[in-house]
């Protein structure tokens, strides 16, 4: 019934959502939404640099995103400007530099719209391998480091006093985000990547009682949004990347109607 490209899109998209859901929980818990956006915006710069140096594009995007994250950490240390100003500067200047550089690359024809908004319907078999290979690696690293990552999120001080290393956790999270951005860019584009991190996680919050449950629910909801968005885009002939985000938003809005506080986390009696 569907062309092969459509099944590939579903496979790639749901695989990606299964990674962005759990990782997105940390973005929401640690209030790193704008930070993630900044890293994502730098991805276009990564594309331009990979073409200039003729290196693998996924690798180039990962390196540039990680560099931007590192630059932010350094700038934060000698803080003269507030973090949101620093993020604003890094976010928009890296996007602008990327756009300018792409303009210079006259010898290669670049589908700029494809990089900004993604082109999930053009996913190749090789892309699927990259997404699943990278995705499994990311999920494995997240699972192995789950307890220290969560402890560092709840309280860096406490984690540190009890012998964990919250600074290391922070760096691990940044590298994982840079990897997700690198594998997600082709699918949903630099402008929409963070939505797949944040919206499913924010939706899952209302339906979960523990952090682990929230991570699983977020991955699942993200996959549902991908499928719904792709079918929507097929039905109404709309752009696929934005359709996925719209589907995620629709699920989020529906979830607002769920009275979560009554479902979870009630104490066993109401005594003093």
């Amino acid at each position: 019934m569907f062309g092969d490209f459509f099944s590939r899109a579903i496979i790639a998209g749901t695989g990606l959502a299964a990674v962005t859901g759990p990782l997105g929980c940390f973005v929401v818990w640690r209030r790193m939404a704008y930070f993630g956006d900044t890293m994502a915006h730098s991805a276009l710069l990564g594309v331009a640099i990979s073409i200039l140096l003729s290196i693998n594009m996924t690798l180039g995007v990962f390196l540039v995103a990680a560099l931007v994250a590192g630059a932010l950490l350094l700038l934060q240390r000698q803080a003269t400007l507030s973090t949101d100003s620093l993020l604003g500067i890094l976010s928009h200047s890296s996007l602008a530099v990327g756009l300018v550089l792409v303009g210079f690359l006259t010898q290669v024809r670049i589908d700029l719209m494809g990089f900004l908004f993604g082109d999930i319907l053009a996913v190749s078999e090789q892309d699927i391998f990259i997404i699943y290979g990278g995705g499994i690696a990311i999920i494995a690293l997240l699972a192995i480091n789950w307890r220290p990552l969560l402890a560092a999120t709840v309280s860096p001080e406490l984690a540190e006093a009890e012998g964990l290393r919250p600074e290391v956790s922070r760096i691990i999270l940044m590298l994982l985000m840079a990897s997700v951005i690198a594998i997600a860019m082709k699918l949903v584009g630099v402008l929409l990547i963070t939505s797949l991190l944040i919206i499913p996680a924010a939706t899952a919050r209302r339906l979960s009682a523990t952090p682990e449950m929230m991570a699983v629910v977020a991955g699942f909801l993200g996959a549902v949004a991908v499928i719904a968005g792709l079918f929507g885009s097929l039905t109404w002939d709309t752009a696929s990347g934005p359709s996925i985000v719209v589907a995620a938003l629709a699920i989020f809005l529906v979830s607002l109607a769920v009275p979560t506080a009554r479902l979870f986390g009630r104490r066993q009696d109401h005594g003093a």
């Binding site: 001080e157 009890e162 009682a209 523990t210 952090p211 066993q268 009696d269």
Partner: protein
């Protein structure tokens, strides 16, 4: 000092040319309670961080018994609404523990009925109890309590001090307590150390409360002596016991007034 869990010798931290604290000597043995008091920025937290090993001293020496398990009760823990966390899940934040161990730890602090509750809906006193249980489940040799009674009302405060004593007796851990309240020190404290960038004065609670350095440091607010927080059934220190009732009520009211 051979039997000490943790020893600080003339230890200090200097950062960016600024002295955070210097010349701190202290030793904590099993079952001992050491209380750090001092104004804001006097180096209490820095000293505690040197003791736990989070901060390396830039001068002096810190020695910890190898393989020491540290439990930490933070000053405040604001857990964002976005993070769904039940009391039960909080108990295993930094280590893996069985359901039975969780039950026992929560039972010990009288918070078993809160097991399934979301941490965001606990009252200040309840949350503090749960944090104690969380630190205790690790069976720590050394326990750091950072302003343990902050944000807890008067009756809750008394109960928490009782709990700290129970924990000390049950685990025989060495306890380092940081106190925000300059006027009240738990009576069971073995050593009070008054900090103000350096050690101003030290000694047993009764010795410190009459030391001129203490009176000088906290002079205007503490023109009356340091009150010792004791339990009414404890008649051994009758003289201090008298101070408690009157002084504590007074200082507590003053504390609220200051806010």
């Amino acid at each position: 000092m051979k039997d000490a869990l943790i020893t600080l010798e003339n230890a200090g931290v200097r950062r960016g040319g600024r002295v955070l604290v210097e010349g701190v000597d202290l030793a904590i043995r099993r079952g001992e309670i050491v209380t750090l008091i001092g104004p804001n920025g006097s180096g209490k937290s820095t000293t505690a961080k040197m003791a736990t090993g989070v901060l390396k001293p830039t001068s002096g020496r810190v020695t910890r018994r190898p393989g020491l398990t540290i439990g930490y009760v933070p000053q405040k823990l604001a857990i964002d609404w976005t993070l769904p966390l039940t009391v039960e899940r909080l108990m295993t934040l930094t280590g893996r523990f069985s359901a039975r161990e969780i039950t026992e730890a929560l039972e010990a602090v009288g918070a078993l009925r809160l097991r399934k509750a979301a941490v965001q809906e606990l009252s200040g006193g309840e949350f503090q109890r749960v944090l104690f249980a969380r630190a205790m489940i690790r069976k720590p040799d050394f326990l750091v309590l950072d302003e343990p009674v902050q944000g807890v009302d008067f009756s809750g405060e008394a109960a928490l001090y009782r709990l700290i004593r129970q924990i000390r007796d049950a685990t025989n851990a060495g306890i380092l307590m940081i106190s925000h309240d300059l006027h009240v020190v738990m009576a069971e404290t073995d050593t009070v150390i008054c900090l103000n960038g350096h050690v101003c004065c030290r000694g047993t609670p009764s010795a410190v409360k009459s030391s001129p350095e203490y009176l000088h440091l906290f002079g205007d607010r503490a023109e009356s002596a340091l009150a010792l927080y004791e339990h009414h059934h404890d008649h051994e220190h009758h003289e201090d016991g008298c101070v408690v009732g009157a002084e504590h009520t007074h200082s507590h009211a003053g504390h609220h007034h200051a806010q």
